[in-house]
């Protein structure tokens, strides 16, 4: 703008229609005019536009919620460390509360509701059976396919039974049932507890002096710890059956022959290894699901995050703990 301009006025008689873009344009013009100390006359503008302009200028600066400027790197590292420490503290407290609630349950002082417990037993156990059957049978089929192609080259197709039996019992039964339950139950726990957090139901329990851990978390975790090993055994059996279908239909083995070979291969200690794993998985899934649910913030978004986080945490914990147990047992 030229320095000689002293006065700025508007005319809008020709203007038929206008929207917010006009206001934004006007604001830019007015701001730069003010910087150049040009006198502004708004009287030519449509009355509505004038009112909106003055409204938009009347908004006071919010001081209370002003975002702090970008922090120095060291400050940010320090803050992250403090947050991490708080997280660890929170997790440790939760673990302690669970142990305490369990002790209270053993001495009969816990507000444990048997009905809740059996409801979760049904949800984790019986209602998981169809999906576990499907997955376990298919895993058995896959294992036996993979083995059959190789073993047929040596005419050793009977050893498919060994492969499938050991594979299911040592590893796949526990792993597959664990992953399914993490998705079905771990996520459900996190969502249930998270929603209860949002609805202040957990506060309501606390204020009448009932420990939410004893009342809500313990029955959920115990049900899972009890049901997952049973699901694992079931998955083992279904996997072996799935393998036998391939053995009988494609490898010309008789069912008796196949099952007898499986029986000879498997020892009780190997079944124990799978059971040990699934017991550990049960604790981890229940723990991750309930922890994420109890840590949940007070919004719908937070419930979604808690659910996702519960599943991801469970699956990571399952795989990591699986490799640790396998390593310890085999070394």
């Amino acid at each position: 703008m030229d320095d000689t301009v002293r006065h700025l006025a508007f005319t809008s008689e020709q203007l038929e229609d206008w929207d917010t873009r006009l206001l934004i344009f006007l604001r830019t013009v007015i701001t730069s005019a003010r910087q150049l100390t040009i006198e502004i006359d708004l009287s030519g503008l449509p009355p509505g536009a004038k009112r909106l302009l003055s409204l938009s200028e009347a908004v006071p600066e919010k001081t209370t919620y002003a975002k702090s400027a970008q922090d120095f790197l060291v400050t940010r590292i320090g803050r992250t460390a403090i947050n991490l420490f708080a997280k660890i503290q929170e997790t440790a407290t939760f673990t302690g509360e669970i142990i305490l609630a369990f002790v209270n349950l053993l001495i009969g002082k816990s507000p444990f509701r048997a009905r809740d417990f059996f409801y979760f037993v049904q949800a984790c156990g019986a209602e998981s059976l169809p999906i576990v059957s499907l997955i376990a049978v298919l895993v058995g089929v896959i294992l036996s396919f993979v083995g059959a192609v190789q073993l047929q080259m040596f005419g050793a197709q009977i050893y498919v039974a060994n492969l499938v039996g050991l594979g299911m019992v040592l590893e796949m039964g526990a792993l597959m049932s664990g992953v399914i339950v993490a998705g079905r139950i771990g996520a459900a726990y996190a969502a249930q507890l998270g929603t209860m957090q949002v609805n202040e139901e957990i506060d309501a329990l606390r204020t009448i002096g009932i420990s939410p851990v004893g009342f809500l978390v313990l029955p959920r975790m115990l049900a899972l710890m009890l049901m997952l090993p049973l699901l694992c055994i079931y998955a083992d059996i279904m996997g072996i059956l799935g393998g036998s279908v391939i053995g009988v239909t494609m490898l010309d083995l008789s069912l008796i022959e196949y099952l007898e070979q499986t029986r000879k291969t498997l020892h009780l200690s190997q079944c124990g290894q799978g059971l040990l794993k699934s017991s550990v998985f049960g604790v981890l899934i229940g723990y991750a699901g309930c922890l994420r649910g109890m840590q949940c913030g007070r919004s719908a978004l937070a419930v979604g995050e808690a659910t996702t986080s519960a599943v991801v945490t469970s699956i990571v914990l399952i795989v990591v703990s699986d490799s640790i147990i396998t390593f310890i047992i085999n070394s």
Binding site: E201, D203, L205
Partner: protein
């Protein structure tokens, strides 16, 4: 009731989330039998103050006294003894969604008393009939309307015949008629229970209709601006923010009750 007036004293209380201070230097007294209103604009820390008083969140500094006892210095069983004498109506109702109304109301009774099941059943249906929900024992919270849920939650709050009844925005989400019915119910219950009521609200109609004492929290100055009977405050308070709030920004100092 064994506690003599004053029933609750808040001394030099500071509320904060991390380094963000919500309110500082809160000092006020709630006398026994008061209907005490905590008022103030959105985000000034009313609900947080309630959480401090109910033992859900320790304050950053300062103390809350129930009678002669400093709540946050008490051991767990001491806090539990005080909480045993409180009832809370949460903003969302907060009924336990996996339980029927009867189970919701029975849970505090089962937890704190050794009453036989038959008596608990009677108590539950009596409390439900007090709030006008007789016969709804076997309903789940999700099957009720918002107003019914609030009333059921009130029945749960009075399950243990509390000395202190806390309300977090009792009329939030209710139509004016239901809100007034709830107000009347609250008043009636106070008269019959002899309880001290602490209510968080910014519903002016309710404030003038029921409050006998109040405290006004302000989000900008981050402290309380006034305490006393809201009608007296309306006439005599000189603080512009308080007057602005109490007159709904009109400056007209006449009491408007519904």
């Amino acid at each position: 009731m064994t506690i003599s007036a004053p029933a609750i004293t808040v001394k030099a209380l500071t509320m904060a989330y991390g380094s963000f201070v919500l309110q500082r230097d809160l000092n006020f007294t709630i006398a026994q039998g008061d209907i005490f209103v905590i008022m103030g604009g959105n985000g000034c820390g009313k609900s947080t103050l309630l959480r401090h008083m109910l033992g859900l969140k320790p304050p950053a500094s300062g103390s809350i006294w129930y009678g002669e006892e400093n709540f946050w210095e008490l051991p767990d069983d001491g806090q539990a003894r005080i909480l045993r004498k409180t009832g809370i109506l949460y903003q969302t109702g907060a009924l336990w969604s996996s339980m029927t109304l009867a189970e919701n109301i029975a849970l505090p009774l089962l937890h704190y008393t050794d009453l036989p099941p038959a008596i608990i059943r009677e108590l539950v249906s009596f409390k439900l009939s007090l709030v006008g929900l007789a016969g709804f024992e076997e309903f789940y919270p999700a099957e009720l309307s918002g107003g019914m849920r609030k009333r059921a939650s009130l029945a749960r709050a009075i399950a243990l015949d509390p000395d202190f009844l806390f309300f977090d925005e009792p009329s939030a989400g209710l139509d004016p008629i239901s809100a007034r019915i709830l107000d009347e119910l609250i008043l009636e219950l106070r008269e019959s229970l002899g309880a001290t009521l602490i209510i968080v609200t910014h519903e002016l109609a309710s404030i003038y209709a029921i409050a006998t004492n109040s405290v006004f929290l302000d989000a900008n100055s981050k402290t309380m601006l006034a305490t006393g009977n809201p009608k007296t405050l309306l006439r005599e308070c000189t603080n512009a923010t308080v007057v602005n709030f109490l007159t709904r920004g009109t400056g007209n100092r006449e009491v408007r009750t519904v």
